[in-house]
């Protein structure tokens, strides 16, 4: 490969080519639209709550399991709360957790991948063996242990450990510290190939520090796999959040999340099957949209990938 042509050529044609390639993937476009709609609805939850004239937090035991009508679009749950508006508020939490935990995992994974790929040698061996070890572990039982530990025993002040938002911070944190493995492997692989390119050699020859080379020269060239892996992992995180919250170990009520809205669904399955169907369907559709979007981004960002 000649060293000049791909550099200038790629730099100029990348943005339009990227959009052309992404537009070609219909599934990715439809997914992006669906995600924009779900996110906007979740962000507008207080407005929609006001317009419908309902209060999502108000318990009304005289109006349990109400059928859908013009006020309660999806009816009410076992405590008489509006299911539709609670789904929107739950979406804020589930999407927030998905986004932040996936970004956290991406930061950890990128750091580990860059160090392993750039430094090589024993550091690479140790980091990648650790990654393989974490991938092979049965992660869900470990996450359950992590979700069950007493934060105040870690020396975290009681006020924070017992606050309503503690379950939110905790779940973001524990998912990020186990979810970095995919990004780390992809970034390492990309770093290995970028490391040997001429501009990295030139920077080394000019005496740039290894930190500067990793941040300024390698990182911008491994952004594509990071974007793809992060998009895909948002879906994985939303699934993990939902199962932990469902098991009662994730987001704690009264804060609604798509997962904890299903906690009572199994006992109520005969009485109110709709309560089981709606939150699950929203999780399913959202995760599927993130997966299709990630897949489309992969095809669009990787020039070597052939649609096959």
């Amino acid at each position: 490969m000649s060293s000049i042509a791909p550099l200038t050529g790629a730099a100029q044609s990348e943005p339009p080519l990227f959009w052309l390639r992404l537009r070609r993937s219909r599934a990715a476009l439809v997914s992006a639209v669906i995600l924009i709609i779900i996110t906007s609805l979740a962000l507008l939850a207080p407005v929609i709550e006001f317009l419908l004239g309902v209060d999502a937090t108000r318990v009304d035991l005289f109006n349990q399991y109400a059928a859908p009508d013009s006020t309660h679009w999806l009816g009410t749950d076992e405590a008489g709360r509006d299911v539709f508006v609670r789904l929107l508020y739950g979406g804020r939490i589930s999407l927030l957790v998905g986004l932040v935990a996936a970004l956290g995992a991406a930061v950890i994974g990128t750091t580990i991948g860059l160090f392993a790929g750039y430094h090589g040698g024993w550091l690479d061996t140790v980091l990648m063996r650790t990654t393989d070890g974490v991938i092979a572990l049965p992660l869900l039982p470990l996450l359950i242990v992590l979700a069950a530990i007493d934060l105040s025993k870690l020396g975290i002040p009681e006020a924070i450990a017992n606050s309503e938002m503690a379950s939110l911070y905790r779940i973001v944190f524990i998912i990020a510290i186990v979810g970095w493995t995919t990004v780390a492997r992809l970034v390492r692989a990309a770093t290995l190939s970028v490391r040997t390119r001429e501009f990295v050699r030139a920077a080394e020859a000019m005496g740039a520090s290894s930190a500067k080379i990793m941040l300024r020269h390698i990182l911008p060239n491994v952004v594509s796999p990071i974007i793809v892996a992060t998009t895909l992992s948002i879906g994985v995180v939303i699934l993990l959040e939902s199962v932990l919250s469902f098991l009662g170990l994730g987001i704690q009520p009264p804060i609604p999340s798509w997962g904890n809205m299903l906690t009572n669904a199994q006992e109520l399955a005969t009485r109110a099957p709709a309560l089981a169907i709606w939150p699950g369907t929203v999780i399913f559709v959202t995760v599927m949209a993130f997966n299709f979007l990630g897949d489309g981004l992969q095809d669009a960002l990787d020039p070597r990938s052939v649609r096959r």
């Binding site: 992660l139 469902f246 999780i283 997966n291």
Partner: protein, 321 residues
């Protein structure tokens, strides 16, 4: 061969040692001290008795020393008692492990048996409507929350149609055949959870293989499409698939935990979950380590299967890897 075995056993030991340390420390951070629970449930015990009991069991020591003591006793073969069952932990874990192995075994076999034909069908007709449908199915499979799928199965097949039991295990002394109806829904849930991933890998591995020169040679020498695909293609495509399936054992166990909990299936996943929530720390610790060991042995067996499937790979090559 001996060097390979030594290396792998050493690697597994390291993972187990690290895992036991991490889990021991984490469990030390869990709320609810067993002695405190004992005192709360027995009015005749005073706080002073509690202090004495803690000293007697070494619970007043720092976590690090408690781990060292535990490790010493565990290595001598005594894995301790379960607090809630009042029996040696292995007596409780081993029958549960058997149930989990049945569940995992049946669903892995089902997933592989469905994934390979689906992958081959999709790979031999890329971009066709059939390929598109299989692709859509795969995306659905990796996106559906497994616990919700179990819930939908219960709603549909147990509550609405009444064809199958919503959960449980059947009579404890019944043979496997009599318990079959209790296995259908858990196995189906777990199969779908892993099927989608396997199918995608089978498809991409098969497409990669079908582009190779030896496939063109096979076609050129007049071999029929079936013999080309199955005789020459599939065996080579199985190799990357074996690796993927091996790496998947850990998440398969996570899936088993969800499935067992949803269907009240008395396996090890549910036992670990219940013991963590029930403050039965020793049972949780040994259960997690046993689960890790099972996963590691699964990985190990897959490596051996890899060498058996690929005559080019000798154990010497595995040693170098």
């Amino acid at each position: 061969m001996l060097a390979f075995l030594t290396r792998r056993v050493l690697g597994m030991t390291i993972v187990l040692a690290v895992m036991s340390f991490v889990v021991f420390m984490l469990i030390g951070l869990m709320p609810g001290d067993p002695i405190d629970i004992m005192i709360a449930s027995n009015p005749e015990l005073t706080p002073a008795d509690g202090e004495r009991l803690k000293r007697l069991h070494g619970l007043d020591l720092p976590l690090w020393e408690r781990y060292r003591n535990w490790l010493g006793v565990a290595l001598s073969g005594d894995l301790g008692f379960s607090r809630t069952y009042n029996r040696p932990v292995l007596d409780i874990l081993l029958p549960r492990l058997g149930n989990t192995v049945i569940l995992l075994g049946l669903s892995s076999l089902a997933a592989i048996a469905i994934a390979i034909p689906l992958g081959v069908i999709a790979a031999t007709r890329p971009q066709s409507p059939v390929d598109g449908a299989i692709n859509l199915f795969c995306f659905a499979g990796i996106s559906v929350p497994p616990f919700w799928l179990a819930l939908i199965f219960i709603l549909l097949f147990a509550v609405t149609l009444g064809w199958l039991p919503a959960g449980g295990m059947g009579a404890p002394d019944a043979c496997l055949f009599a318990r079959l109806e209790f296995l259908v829904l858990p196995v189906a849930t777990l199969t779908i959870a892993s099927l989608a991933g396997y199918t995608r890998f089978a498809r991409s591995a098969m497409i990669e293989v079908l582009r190779q020169d030896y496939i063109r040679t096979a076609r050129a020498k007049g071999l029929g499409p079936a013999r080309t695909v199955f005789g020459h293609g599939l065996r080579n495509a199985m190799l990357p698939l074996t690796t993927i399936i091996a790496l998947d054992f850990g998440s398969l166990f996570s899936g088993a935990l969800i499935t067992e909990t949803m269907f009240g299936y008395l396996g090890m996943g549910k036992l670990i979950y219940d013991s963590i929530l029930g403050n039965d720390f020793n049972l949780a610790l040994v259960g997690l380590l046993l689960a890790t060991l099972v996963v590691l042995i699964g990985n190990f067996l897959a490596d051996i299967a890899y060498a058996v499937l690929d005559p080019r790979i000798s154990f010497r090559a595995l040693e170098a890897a």
